[in-house]
Amino acid sequence: MTSGEAMRQQQEFSAPVINGVSITHKPQRSDKAKIVPDPLVKVEHLSLFYGAKQALQDIEMNIPRKKVTAFIGPSGCGKSTLLRCFNRLNDLVDGCRIEGNISINDKSIFDADVDITDLRKKVGMVFQKSNPFPKSIYENVAYGARIAGINKKSVLDELVEKNLKRAALWDEVSDRLNDSAMGLSGGQQQRLCIARAIAVEPDVLLMDEPCSALDPIATAKIEDLVTELKDRFTIVIVTHNMQQASRVSDYTAFMYIGDIVEFDTTEKIFLNPAKKHTEDYVSGKFG
């Protein structure tokens, strides 16, 4: 679908505005979404505009529960933008407008009664560049709990240990929990950010190119971690690295210029893609 088409479609519907974000409901258009048996997150007719520029075009997809879903595609295709819709981090961007709907557990995240901080507790995020707070390792992991008003030391101690272990970082830092998180290596910092995110016990964990700044060994550690964590969390990962997508994900979406070209099981996308465009990209002919 071209962008002109999207513009025309969007004019056909009057958009109700909720929380400053206008939302349009449209009838089911394609069957892209149907391949997922037990979806946790449903994206319906999602379009996103930065001012006059359209960044996402009528996205339609379902994200499976407790599986790893990867978004691949060339730079600027809107992978990160789509990811940041799930925890409404795009609300911070001036002039950003969203149409369509996203629902998690059949509850729209754009509803007026949704508390945005609750949403973000349910949808954790790990960023491209590791961003530990300038605090101790302990305080970084305990941050979410402290925000939630938990200040009891025994509870926090347990929480910190549990999540550092889940993030496979405990053995490396257990003897220096009170040191600054800034002293950790890049890979450790990124795992600390993962520990910090899962300490809030989210349903969904968004990962925005979590390994792009890391060396291969640190990358392998994070990939192992992702595989372990999918028993517990629904993970959405954006990546530039196609090998990574094929290694860690169960489902893969190939995006191009703000649209999802193809979304299917990872196996199908990489071995037997339905579209020529996808095949060209995953085989390295362009991108």
Binding site: F127, N131, P132, F133, P134, G144, S180, M182
Partner: protein, 539 residues
């Protein structure tokens, strides 16, 4: 030539040169102030100068300068020396210029004594005799000087006791009487006719007055004791002078002292300088009240300016919608930093003293009117004026600090379900803290050196009491205070005896710089600690 410019070597040399020039200027300034100030306390040997006209002086060498032009060969007759001859009561001046050609002979008699007095500056002369109750207890024998020292020591003890009574006991009594008087006044002002209360207050006043009589009697006794003992000195020319011991602070014989002794004396004197009250229109004694006033003022200013500056910057940077209005506000803040400080002083007088102070007086201190309590200059108003003056510095520095906190750290916090306020409070401010402290350092440096606005908002030449004492509420923010910067101005330009005050000017300037440096170093150490703790390094 183009080859020289291309690699930029020339630029590097030029900037290096500029840096060296700046360092040399700073170093030169510090060196000048330090040597002139610190040197003035050294006990210089006292020489007996016999002049060709027959007159004799006991003087300390202070300096030498060329009189005539530089043509031809210079000889002794071309120079003159500056002597500190003391004995202002005899000669009228402490200092004397003598042409070297006029000096017939010069020697350093071991028995020359310098007395530091509470009035009339130093006395240079020889010890003749010591009298206790009019009886001569010691003559000019070799032991006499140690006797003199011990009697001066005793006299100083009595003097301290007198001070304690005058400042402590009598101060308390005056404070009490004033309180009762104000209560009485309040009664009559409210038109209450409560004779029981009135009688109670009057009774209390009478009690205080009885106490005062007791203290006064004690004082009188001490004073007679103090002045009962006398020392008789003779000047270089042989003139006798009888001085009561109460008027003498200390005695020393520089020619008799070895280097170690002199060094010890120097330390003692230096300590006295920074810990004592000033004497003789500030030209002698210490400068403790000025040091205290300066530091207290900077503290109060910091306590006021920090929250205001940080909150203003937080709003401007984090919450306000960035647009024309915020830009205008920002430009205004920057312009405020360029307003001459005296303008802030005038504002302080108009707004704080007359405005706020006047209202406080008319509401809380009605009884004391028409004499103002807060409606006049005081350390609080001076500090607030300086806080206004330094506010732009803190705002600008804080804003820059906030702007440099990476966006992804904020997003990290928000993505964990923190509200914007929690993010600002727990993540952004700690990250920006080093920059905020940099703002404070700049503010302190500016405030400590400021004099003009203080002169009209609360600084005085001589404050009778420190702003902190034993009376409730202990910190008296309405009191006037002394300040090192003003002290320099006062000594250098307002002193009746400016030649004698010159070393004090240098010493005070030296101390002022020292305090600025100490305050700054403290803040810098704190900042570096925080920087280590909250380092926001990328990966």
């Amino acid at each position: 030539m183009p080859k020289l410019w291309k690699p930029g070597d020339a630029y590097i040399w030029i900037s290096g040169l500029a840096l060296m020039l700046t360092l040399a200027m700073i170093g030169g300034l510090l060196f000048l102030i330090a040597t002139k100030g610190l040197g003035s306390m050294w006990p210089v040997d006292i020489g007996r100068y016999k002049l060709t006209d027959g007159s004799v002086y006991l003087g300390q060498f202070q300096g030498r300068e060329l009189v005539r032009g530089a043509e031809g060969i210079r000889s002794e007759s071309d120079f003159r020396v500056k002597l500190k001859i003391g004995n202002r009561d005899l000669y009228g001046l402490d200092f004397k210029w003598v042409d070297e050609a006029d000096i017939a002979s010069l020697d350093y008699p071991n028995n020359a004594v310098i007395l530091e007095r509470r009035e009339w500056g130093n006395y240079h002369g020889y010890l003749k005799e010591i009298r206790k109750n009019g009886e001569i207890v010691s003559g000019a024998d070799p032991e006499a000087f140690s006797v003199l020292k011990s009697v001066i020591h005793d006299a100083n003890k009595i003097h301290d006791e007198i001070l304690k009574i005058e400042k402590g006991e009598i101060g308390d009594i005056n404070y009490g009487i004033e309180k009762q008087r104000l209560k009485l006044r309040g009664l009559s002002m409210r038109g209450e006719n409560n004779s029981a209360k009135e009688a109670e207050f009057r009774l209390k006043i009478e009690e205080y007055e009885a106490l005062y009589k007791v203290s006064e009697a004690k004082l009188e006794k001490l004073y007679t004791e103090l002045n009962r003992n006398e020392v008789v000195m003779s000047s270089a020319a042989g003139e006798e002078k009888v001085m009561p011991l109460g008027k003498i602070v200390m005695a020393f014989r520089p020619n008799y002292m070895g280097f170690v002794e002199k060094a010890g004396f120097y330390v003692e004197r230096f300590w006295g300088f920074i810990s004592d009250d000033p004497r003789e229109a500030n030209t002698e004694g210490g400068i403790f009240p000025a040091i205290f006033g300066t530091i207290l003022m900077v503290f109060i200013m910091s306590i006021v300016v920090m929250p205001f500056g940080v909150i203003a910057a937080l709003y401007l940077r984090e919450y306000a919608k960035q647009g024309l209005m915020v830009r205008i506000v920002r430009i205004c803040v920057n312009n405020l930093a360029g307003v001459p400080s005296i303008v802030f002083g005038v504002f302080g007088v108009g707004f704080f003293l007359y405005g706020v102070g006047g209202i406080i007086d008319s509401v809380f201190f009605k009884e004391a009117l028409p004499s103002p309590t807060f409606g006049t200059g005081g350390i609080l108003w001076a500090s607030l004026t300086l806080a206004l003056l330094t506010l732009p510095v803190v705002i600008v520095a804080t804003e820059e600090g906030l702007a440099s906190v990476p966006r992804n750290i904020r997003e990290g916090s928000l993505a964990l379900g923190a509200t914007k306020f929690e993010t600002t409070w727990k993540v952004v401010i700690p990250s920006a803290l080093p920059a905020i402290l940099t703002g404070l350092i700049l503010a302190i440096a500016r405030a400590t050196g400021e004099v003009a606005p203080l002169m009209i908002t609360g600084v005085v030449k001589l404050a009778p009491d420190l702003p902190i004492d034993g009376h409730f509420p202990f910190l008296h923010l309405e009191r006037k205070f002394m300040h090192l910067g003003f002290h320099i101005y006062d000594l250098g330009f307002q002193s009746p005896n400016s030649e004698a005050a010159k070393p004090m000017v240098f010493m005070t300037a030296f101390l002022l710089i020292l305090i600025v440096v100490i305050l700054n170093i403290t803040a810098i150490i704190i900042r570096n600690r925080l920087r280590k703790k909250y380092a926001t390094s990328a990966v």
